[in-house]
Amino acid sequence: MSNVNVEEPKSLFIAPVSKPAPGSVGKTGTWRHEKPVINEEKCVKCLLCWLYCPEDTILRREDDMVYVDYDYCKGCGICAKVCPVNAIDMVPEG
């Protein structure tokens, strides 16, 4: 039971508040020098790349096949390094 009322301010009010959302510094995919490319034939769906990806840019399909959110992937290469079956290649970009 809470007796606090969140009430809209009644003057010009700009508070330092935010909400979690993707892209808080923009499309970080542009930071990349290399992009991870997943070889779906080799992938064993162990999800280690998904687990270790710092950015949350390895995504899972319904069948747990993984794919990359290139809009935001910063290209750190962790996914390629942790993949036990070498199913991810880091491919140079632009």
Partner: protein, 424 residues
């Protein structure tokens, strides 16, 4: 005039004789504060002790966090308030200075909390007595800053602070100042209104946002410089709004509880008086006594007591400067290399004034040096006599040297002689 409200025992009012610090604790309890976080420091300590007593004995339904520093005290107070709980802390002097970073952070977060500042000197050397340098040191931080004259006002202001800071036009934290020892440890009658009446008057807590799993609110991450700038603009807007709110709350409180103080300032015979004292805090009463005596002797003199340092009472001071022949500022603080704080602030209103009054800025009472009604009488009388005799002057840094040192040191420092307007 007898203490009439004491005899009105039937209507639920309770008169207690309380120290200023206990008056704070009773107001905090009456406001149904949920979280108290504080660290002991003289002369604030008995606020914390009393609240701990009330909470431990079930007189007050709150949680007390006995933090390990003042820095933590305000951080915990802010944390609780951000979660949605009405929260309170209190400190003094060095504690307030240690807390200073969080003072700014709290105002920037726009989360209303209330803090008592029991004014005290800053060392070295160690000194636990009254001084206003600690409280005025917070003036730029975005807090509403008030200061009381007596224990009754300590109670009333503390209670009002919750109402003012939680007003959706304001949403800023608020400091209630009370003078160390002079109020904090002095017992005087305090009328505590009936709790039911207080509950009716003080609405449940309101705040602009809460940080909860459901709200998803993130407070304080990086913002564009332009957004930062506009947030600062918004605090200033809230300060302007706060002037209205303070005055409304003062009126309302007066209607409901029978005590009205005048809003940002208290005008004690200041309207229409040729000469006026500008002063803040507990010694204002001594200045009023001096003024009463001078008025008996035929002097046209009054007191403008600054109740709120932030927002600064621009309009009231402008009016005072415009209508006074001379204004005597009494500061219990000094901005080294600058001047007293009340004088410094008031001089910013001079450009808006239609008149150029004679001005003297007195620095007195630092570190608890006692200045009583007799001395205010002498200071005021000699100021008026000097103006009447020699014409207006500007004398911003007049040191009211303590009795034991008088005559051994100059009252005006080199470079700060009296500046006569005629010479200009």
């Amino acid at each position: 005039m007898l203490l009439t409200w004491f005899q009105r025992g039937d209507d639920g009012m309770v008169v207690k004789t309380l120290t200023g610090n206990k008056a704070v604790a009773h107001a905090v309890k009456a406001a149904r504060v949920k979280v108290v976080a504080a660290y002991p420091i003289t002369p604030q300590t008995t606020i914390v002790e009393t609240l701990a007593d009330m909470i431990e004995h079930g007189e007050m339904n709150a949680k007390m966090i006995r933090v390990e520093s003042e820095h933590s005290a305000l951080a915990a107070t802010l944390g609780a308030a951000a979660a949605g709980a009405r929260s309170f802390t209190a400190t003094s002097s060095h504690g307030l200075l240690l807390m200073h970073e969080v003072v700014w952070w709290t105002a920037g977060a726009r989360i209303p909390v209330v803090m008592s500042v029991v004014t005290r000197a800053i060392g070295p050397p160690w000194n636990i007595h009254v001084d206003h340098n600690d409280i005025w040191d917070q003036r730029d931080s975005g807090w509403i800053i008030s200061i009381a004259e007596n224990n009754q006002e300590v109670f009333d202001l503390t209670l009002q602070a919750f109402r003012i800071s939680e007003d959706p036009r304001v949403y800023l934290p608020m400091i209630v100042g009370l003078d160390g020892f002079i109020l904090s440890h002095t017992v005087a009658p305090v009328d505590i209104p009936d709790q039911e009446k207080i509950d009716q008057w003080l609405p449940p807590r309101r705040q602009p946002y809460v940080i909860t799993p459901e709200s998803g609110v993130v407070m304080g991450n990086l913002a564009a410089d332009e957004d930062y700038y506009m947030m600062r603009y918004s605090i200033q807007t809230a300060m302007v709004e706060a002037k209205k709110v303070i005055s409304e709350v003062d009126d309302e409180y007066g209607e409901v509880f029978g005590r009205k103080y005048g809003g940002l300032v208290e005008c004690f015979h200041c309207d229409g008086s040729k000469y006026n004292i500008v002063i803040a805090g507990s010694w204002s009463g001594d200045a009023k006594e001096a003024v009463l005596k001078l008025r008996d002797e035929g002097y046209s003199v009054g007191v403008l007591r600054v109740r709120y340092f932030r927002p600064w009472p621009d309009e009231e001071i402008r009016r005072l400067l415009s209508t006074s022949k001379g204004v005597l500022f009494i500061d219990r603080s000094i901005s080294f290399g600058g001047k007293g704080h009340l004088l410094t602030e008031a001089m910013t209103n001079l450009a808006e004034s239609t008149n150029l009054p004679a001005v003297r800025g007195v620095i007195a009472g630092l570190g608890g040096v006692d200045v009583g009604a007799d001395e205010f009488y002498e200071l005021t009388k000699s100021f008026i006599d000097e103006v009447e005799e020699n014409g207006p002057f500007y004398d911003p840094l007049y040191w009211h040297i303590p009795q034991v040192y008088r005559g051994k040191y100059p009252e005006r420092l080199p470079g700060y002689g009296k500046f006569s307007y005629e010479r200009r």
